[in-house]
């Protein structure tokens, strides 16, 4: 479904991704872990199409199409969703109007008929329950005055509304308390249907107690240095990242 090959990317003059390769099949959940500064968030930004990053080498194909050739909005319409590490507050834009526009664009792109107002509201009701998001929040301006937990729940709510085939979660667990972590994880798990794929970027293992991955990869200095199953995450939790660094430097 998503194939990343030898990806190199930089921001301004600083090279951050240095030959990253990763293949994600249909319905798979991949966790990407790594120390600070290893390039985790850069990978998320490059996949979503943030223009500050320049891809200097490598390819990314998404369902057979060249992902890097598409502007950010087209990637979203093709079914890629990025849950932001820092969701943006946009005063004056109501969550509902924004979502109505986004759902409309995506359905149009996929050749689906526009939802009626009633269908849309029904969908909002159904999906907001998934992350226990208060109906009031849906009516407010996008993320404005939301707590950290509410912002992340709102990301997952939007994800559920837009029904993507590939979800990239960038440090969704950061800034969450135990209850919010549980709610967000349950929302994500409810969306695992054997077809939808996930890339879960996280620094800590605790999120993976709730969302159990099929594969775990360790990112270090812009490359994947080790891949394994969920046991790898536990190993990292126990040993920290230092042993990996030593191992890499010994090479």
């Amino acid at each position: 479904m998503l194939k990343i090959e030898n990806l190199h990317a930089r921001i301004e003059e600083k090279e951050i991704l240095k030959g990253l390769s990763l293949t994600i099949g249909e319905g798979e959940v991949h966790a990407i872990m790594g120390p600070n500064g290893s390039g985790k968030s850069t990978l998320a930004s490059v996949l979503a199409g943030r223009e500050d990053y320049e891809v200097t080498e490598g390819t990314v194909t998404f369902n057979g199409k060249d992902l890097l050739d598409m502007p950010a909005e087209e990637r979203a319409r093709e079914g890629l969703f990025l849950a932001f590490q820092y969701p943006v507050e946009i005063p004056g834009v109501s969550n509902m109007n924004f979502l109505k526009a986004a759902v409309g664009e995506i359905r149009k792109h996929r050749g689906l008929e526009a939802l009626t107002a009633k269908e849309f509201l029904q969908l909002v009701k159904e999906k907001s329950q998934l992350v226990e998001l208060d109906g009031q929040l849906a009516n407010r301006a996008v993320n404005e005055g939301f707590s950290g937990g509410e912002k992340k729940r709102n990301e997952i709510f939007q994800m559920a509304m837009l029904n993507p085939s590939m979800c990239v979660l960038d440090e969704t667990d950061s800034g969450l308390d135990i209850d919010a972590l549980r709610i967000v994880s349950e929302g994500v798990n409810a969306m695992r249907d054997g077809k939808r794929s996930f890339v879960i970027i996280t620094h800590y293992q605790r999120l993976l107690d709730h969302i159990v991955p099929d594969f775990v990869h360790v990112l270090y200095k812009g490359k994947i240095v080790k891949s394994g199953t969920k046991e790898l995450a536990l190993e990292l939790e126990e040993k920290g990242y230092d042993w990996l660094k030593e191992m890499e430097e010994a090479k």
Binding site: A48, G49, R50, E51, P71, A72, E73, R75, A76, R77, L82, F84, P87, V88, I90, P91, G92, V93, N97, F98, A101, A102, E105, I106, H109, A141, V142, Q158, L162
Partner: protein, 400 residues
């Protein structure tokens, strides 16, 4: 001086309060402080004046001003009297002249108004009356290369409440609106004016509004300029009585080579009053904006609470914005603040919206409507707000 080839005297009411002749004044140049950023070139031209057209189609519940001639509403509104210039009583004539005398500005445009004015109307809101429906004023030029110069006078009598909408429409290839509006809000009265300027491609507007407020009165005004090749709005508000509230707001969206200038003046003459000013601009293409907000707090105007804000977003590298807050404070126990920002879009917000599938264009329009939403929320008439927003959508400024 070439403005107006032939000045015709007012046909309806002998109206030359200052006995000035246009030839007494020169056109302002950019050397004058208040015209520093606004060249009069576009309006310094030879304009025709329309003949009185008896077949103006009057509106049932509003006033229609066509080519500067005023048609009174055909219907009645309980609590409101509309008086055409030629029918003013001696007392009403004195009232009109007293309102004009409050404005001590004497310049070429006032002289042109005085000499070229086609028509005049006095609208009086009777004491204690609450007018539920907004009174609409529709302003339109129908004759190419013409100038219109109507006067509108509004007096809100004690304890009355009324709202007006003023709709500047565009019909001609090229014309000039020189509109004067003078209003007085009497003690404990409330007056609101909500205006939209959507004149056509080569229409110019010089709108001169002078408002005075007696004690405990409330005055609110919103001015949205959706289009206009050359628009200058001069809004002077004199606060003459204590415990008044004043809200003045505007939004402007110059595109292409359009120029939109808002000059406001809030004159706090007495103590214990509150004023709140909020103007926002989004500038496209080669658009140009000017904002000059003067707040004057007289030595006796203690406990004045005056707030002013002007914020702008530049959508193009070629657009320009000239903004100048001007606070003159002579009282020592006041709360006055002002802020002015001019910047680019929030790129992070733009990316967030695009990452959810919105095109760059619709994301931008959504952000423009978000940016100006606080001004739009001051439009207290829902149907008028909807009309303003629809106009902005049609002009491809905001999105649905």
């Amino acid at each position: 001086m070439s403005i107006v080839a032939e000045l015709k005297p007012t046909s309806t009411f002998s109206f030359k309060p200052n006995k000035h002749s246009v030839a007494d004044f020169a056109m302002p140049t950019t050397r004058a402080e208040s015209w520093k950023y606004t060249r009069v070139g576009a309006i310094d031209s030879t304009w025709k004046q329309a003949e009185r057209n008896e077949s103006i189609v009057a509106l049932e519940n509003g006033i229609r001003i066509e080519n500067g001639f005023i048609a009174l509403p055909t219907g009645q509104t309980e609590g409101v009297t509309f008086t055409a210039g030629k029918n003013l009583s001696v007392e009403q004539q004195a009232l009109v002249l007293s309102l004009l005398a409050k404005e001590n500005r004497r310049d070429v445009f006032d002289a042109i108004s005085e000499n070229a004015s086609n028509d005049l109307i006095l609208i009086e809101i009777q004491s204690g009356k609450i007018i539920e429906e907004a009174i609409s004023i529709e302003i339109e030029n129908m004759l190419n290369d013409s100038m219109s110069a109507p006067y509108v006078f509004i007096v809100s009598k004690e304890n009355s409440i009324a709202k007006f909408t003023i709709d500047f429409k565009g019909k001609t290839e090229r014309s000039f609106h020189l509109v004067q509006l003078h209003a007085h809000v009497e003690q404990s009265a409330q007056l609101e004016i909500h205006q939209l300027q959507n004149t056509s491609k080569n229409e110019c507007v010089l709108l001169r509004e002078s408002i005075s407020q007696a004690e405990k009165s409330v005055f609110k005004i919103t001015t949205v300029t959706a289009r206009g090749t050359w628009v200058r709005n001069e809004l002077n508000i004199r606060i003459e009585g204590q415990h008044c509230e004043t809200f003045l707001s505007g939004a402007y969206f110059p595109k292409h080579d359009q120029m939109i200038d808002n000059h406001t003046f809030v004159d706090h003459q007495v103590a214990n009053c509150y004023s709140n000013e909020l103007y926002k601009g989004v500038l496209f293409d080669n658009g140009k904006g000017v904002f000059n907000g003067k707040v004057y707090v007289h030595i006796d105007a203690q406990k004045t609470n005056a707030y002013q804000s002007n914020a702008n977003i530049m959508m193009s590298d070629n657009a320009s914005m000239f903004t100048k807050p001007e606070l003159e404070i002579y009282a020592d126990d006041v709360k006055c603040s002002h802020g002015s920002t001019t910047g680019q879009f929030n790129e992070e917000a733009l990316f967030y919206l695009r990452a959810r599938g919105l095109s760059e264009e619709s994301a931008k329009r959504l952000l423009v409507s978000a940016f100006t939403s606080d001004v739009m929320n001051r439009i207290s008439i829902p149907s008028w707000k909807e009309y303003v927003l629809q106009t902005l959508i049609q002009n491809e400024i905001i999105t649905e």
